[in-house]
Symmetry: C2
Amino acid sequence: MASSQVIRGLTQSAALPLSSCSAQSAASAHVQLSPLPVQLSALPRDRTVKQHVSSKVLASEFSGLRLDSSAGCSTSGAQPPRSERRNRNGAARATATVGTDAQTLKKVDPKLSQRCITAIRTLTVDSVENAQAGHPGLPMGCAPIGYVLFDEVMKYNPKNPQWFNRDRFVLSAGHGVLLQYILLHLVGYDSVQVDDLKSLCKWGSRCPGHPENLLTGGIELTTGPLGQGTANAVGFAMAEKHLAARFNRPGHEIVNHYTYCLAGDGCLMEGISNEAGSMAGHLGLGKLIMFYDNNNNSIDGPTSITFDEDVCKRYEALGWHVQRVGDPDSHLDDLRQAIVRAKSVTDKPSFIQVDTTIGYGSPSKQGTAKAHHGTFGPEEVEKIRETLHADYKEPFTVPQDVLDHWRQNVTRGEQAEGEWKQEWERYQREYPEEARELDNLVNQRLPDDWESVIPDFSGETKGDATRGWSEKVINALAGRVPGLIGGSADLATSNKLYLKAWGDFEKDAPAERNIRYGVREHAMAAISNGLALHRSGLIPFAGTFFVFTDYMRGAVRISALSDAGVIYVVTHDSIGLGEDGPTHQPVEHLASLRAMPNMTVVRPGDAIEVAGAYKVAIKNRSGPTMIVLSRQKLSSAVVSGTSADNVEKGGYVVSDNSEPGKVPDLILLATGAELELSEKAATKMREEAGFKVRLVSMVCWELFEAQPESYRNDVLPLECQARVSVEAGSKLGWREWVGPRGKIIAVDRFGASADYDTLFAKFGFSVDNIVSVSKQAIAEAVPV
Amino acid sequence: MASSQVIRGLTQSAALPLSSCSAQSAASAHVQLSPLPVQLSALPRDRTVKQHVSSKVLASEFSGLRLDSSAGCSTSGAQPPRSERRNRNGAARATATVGTDAQTLKKVDPKLSQRCITAIRTLTVDSVENAQAGHPGLPMGCAPIGYVLFDEVMKYNPKNPQWFNRDRFVLSAGHGVLLQYILLHLVGYDSVQVDDLKSLCKWGSRCPGHPENLLTGGIELTTGPLGQGTANAVGFAMAEKHLAARFNRPGHEIVNHYTYCLAGDGCLMEGISNEAGSMAGHLGLGKLIMFYDNNNNSIDGPTSITFDEDVCKRYEALGWHVQRVGDPDSHLDDLRQAIVRAKSVTDKPSFIQVDTTIGYGSPSKQGTAKAHHGTFGPEEVEKIRETLHADYKEPFTVPQDVLDHWRQNVTRGEQAEGEWKQEWERYQREYPEEARELDNLVNQRLPDDWESVIPDFSGETKGDATRGWSEKVINALAGRVPGLIGGSADLATSNKLYLKAWGDFEKDAPAERNIRYGVREHAMAAISNGLALHRSGLIPFAGTFFVFTDYMRGAVRISALSDAGVIYVVTHDSIGLGEDGPTHQPVEHLASLRAMPNMTVVRPGDAIEVAGAYKVAIKNRSGPTMIVLSRQKLSSAVVSGTSADNVEKGGYVVSDNSEPGKVPDLILLATGAELELSEKAATKMREEAGFKVRLVSMVCWELFEAQPESYRNDVLPLECQARVSVEAGSKLGWREWVGPRGKIIAVDRFGASADYDTLFAKFGFSVDNIVSVSKQAIAEAVPV
């Protein structure tokens, strides 16, 4: 059975020689902190570098975490058998049941706690006043939550922000990032020094206006566009649950962390949070704990002007465990106990509403929208210090005993990681194969021959849609690329995006690798960002119709901005979709995504280019790749002259009947399904009219643009101005490639409901029309 | 007080001479059915026509609806006084309380009811088999809902689909459109004949694969992308509530209709539906009734694989009145009674879950995802007929007595409209001024001098952001354009988008014209589509940061596709946003929206162009306009040479120091805030280096492209190849305007967090850099 061979393939890959050391020695050789791939410049790096990562991609090195000695029963499910039925209770079970875990809460003198909280608030005020910018309302209101989480609850090591098994903190209400900067500073991260706080929102600062994962050690995710973080956190919790199910063994909870999320009313008004919340409830993500910063204010005023739903009841309806804590300054113990209870519920995600006071401590602004953003001014600052009983006047002061207390988290963190490392060593001894596999996964090491599993389509002639070949390629790759995990937004059948050797990732089967996202595109993309930025080597893929990238664009942009290597597999890529009509037919989507920085849009034209597209996508671990595929079938698997390897160049000559060194009469440029059509037109031009015609595949503009100018001029010689582009999408941008005299066969209106053949003919995508336009182009072109 | 003058302005406008007849005679002169502006070709009409509508726009003519004689107390609120406080209980109150309205349910022989329902099902099967395409699952499952609504409950006139006061039906689950086509056919609409059903999904058909408002009389909205309809329906219900509050008078319920929506599980998984549902609950839209087609299946299988939340409880949490009806075939009376109860609840929207069977009647497919779309084949068709006891074999048969029963709705509808017309005549006599105002509103007649209220900025020098001038313009216009209604997604202050003479549209103040959308961009855009396509003359505006158009892009596309004249006012339009950093700085958004068909993107460069942008937007009633505005201040209100009228040309010469008839040395092209910067660079080039420099404003590409080639060549003479574009966004598309040798100063990477001045300098938007690039362009340009 083909699918079980795929599984064997995976097992073999895990058994392949590792980078030169056994898993055990690899682990012991890699216990040092590996720095985050921090991007110190605010500008993205050179695309050419990013697009062409070696197949031995290096990510963070694998490091450790303390395990609770009280940790309960473990999970199983190493190589889960093929899931024959949905929702089965198979070998792969939910992650471990955890105890009440009350012991993770430290006993601290209440007065000291209060002063620790006050330090957050005064540093907030100082930073905002110094920057004359920023959002003080949330950090002041949520200071108690930040304190309890970072000082008492969370497991992390300030000296190794990339410690694999750390608890994750996601600030969905990203405008409140100052809270996180201050916490990172107080607990001893190197990434945020006082000088960094003083450079808030300044050019080159490690403290930009919203959280950016590439700039600041300890910031897991780029958030800010509201709601994203709530879905990213679901991705984190899913990654943990998945890896725990795959790798934990009895007595060895090598993967075991919580995900904490802080969300504001804005996050919860956004539809994406409801999508993600519904997913989380369905999957029973017991180790996801979300705090709702219920401060009753949004930018335009009290939330009552538009948001008076019963949020707690809604989350109950979504399947969450819901708790409500009053004013956290008066009820700090309630907050603590709520977290303990949340941890004790292992089969549901937890929602904790905390009734905070925005801008707490500011006599004139607290509790109102005025505290949301902006500065206070010196007089109000003085009053805030009085109100908070902060008897230090110098900005950025933290009393020594308070700082000493906070900094205990350095030792605590190092201890925690140290204990985890010991556990990891034991695990390596007892489960060397699993340890090697996990090590390879996290460090993104692929077997040298991973590309060889991709089917060789060169001899194949049978026609199919490009989505059909995509199905073959991703299924072949899944056996060799153990990080591949993902799914579709209720279009798995249409997208042909399902890993046949695995079953559905479900509440009771989290080791599986197919995710049923439901009709929730936006959450799908943001969850994929979470899976990617969990930085455990997972390579998320996500599918829908190309036109519905509109629904998830907010999150797709964050993939690009935060270097999340998500593979978007989008099908039904043009009017070629047919009968469903214009609501389902993308027109402007290629252009709109090509305009997005750090997005790699690949639109393969045949089976061979589909293979090439996946190679690009797997290698591109520092940004999203959008593989754009047809619904309609092509007449043959191969357009003569295509090359999987050439896809990495973005544009290349597919065929040319000119004599060597001579300039052709015409260059035809095409992508996707229109490549085959253009080949037919080229053949007709060559055979019937004797023209010298070059056919160029423009399969990925971004990669072509990254080539040296000399290469680009070789493919598109300036001497040939008779150029015609053929692509069933917006004309926007094609002028760059066809030149001033070139012709653009494009779709610049909405489509229509009809069969594919009729539509293509009506919109000018026929051999005859291409030939006709080409002849016109030749006639009008004047040699340079 | 300026604001009250604005209100007076509005009153005056209503008193201006009408198109040549008084309101009363206008009404009697317009009682004839005005055909829908049906677009019979599937292709959009010529943009030039669409973009330049006359200021006396003609929409559907105003026609009538039966009022319940039992109608309860009315509303007041003609010209609402300025709302001084939020949530006040002022003159403008909620729409009328309605009675239980049980009398709208007809008594029908149960057997005949069943045969009427069966006719829907057999026509579904026949249409799908004939087309070999389509989605039979929903129409067969929801046939009882369709029957009760269209035969017993809804008020409409098949012979006048545009009857102003008709009940609205919104099919959010648009793939089930066959249900609606069949209902329209059965009840006697002219738009769907048997031949239309036979042309389902064929080129040029009035029955495309998803509902398209421009193609089929009786289809209110373009839906299909899931969830949109749930928000459109909220827009409809808001429009009704608003107009009722503005125009109804004691004893005169001239505006009084329900909005019914049918949504599937897919719609309810989409975040947009939760956003819209939360809004509807907040606003207490008592005349919105939504049916949830709970058939337990989505495309990829049973909904249980990903969607097991408690939907009813969620809607309760959102503030809806929730009911659940079992299998509607066995519980038709329960369905009827649920609608009666829903109508009796006047302060909450109603949610009615109906436990349908997808593909009801198909022995092998019903109740499974297999019935969602696709054909049955002849054998199964025969079995379906047997199961349904349909003793007619010929496809597209409807037994005569069944058809006769359905067609009674023609008479019923004409009677209903006739009664409403009588009411309308009484209203005109008793409230002539209000009647004239309503008549003008619905028929989109503006006072001749409406443009004159726009401030004259020509003498103004004080600098501001373009968003600042936008605030002045829209506030001035609001007094003369009574249809303007809208708001912002919790950024009213930042967008400067608030009508100061009006208060907040709230549950108890629906006559007001500022809508508090909360942080719900996607619902905002889709609700705006509903407000526009209610076709009562409302001109919705909607604001957010430009970057967050990503969140609402799914609905923005529908604005463009369905000719919804929404005015999007988006601010913070580039890296010029500053400190908030790259998550909030648009880069690719101009290009991505310019690629969208029928979208008009206007990015004004000074106060005068802001005025021009609004003129374009108000006149453009057949598509969305996106007015793109800066956060940062410009140094002066006017760039010398700009013109509000020239904005309609999209691109024009702002200044040029060449001698008349001579070709300049350089053309600088710019938009938005970069126009002023380019003017400074042009001045420097002219004064310091003696160059002849033409400055061109490219304020709206779409309008410029619609100009004759001769005009475009006049503005951008081919003889001048030294061209430099200056726009702080993606370079994509600029090659078209700068030519092969031109230079493009653009932003093709993500932005950064810093102050605006630093960012502009770092990204090359400085006078010095523009001058430097310009000199290079001149040096490299070779005359053609």
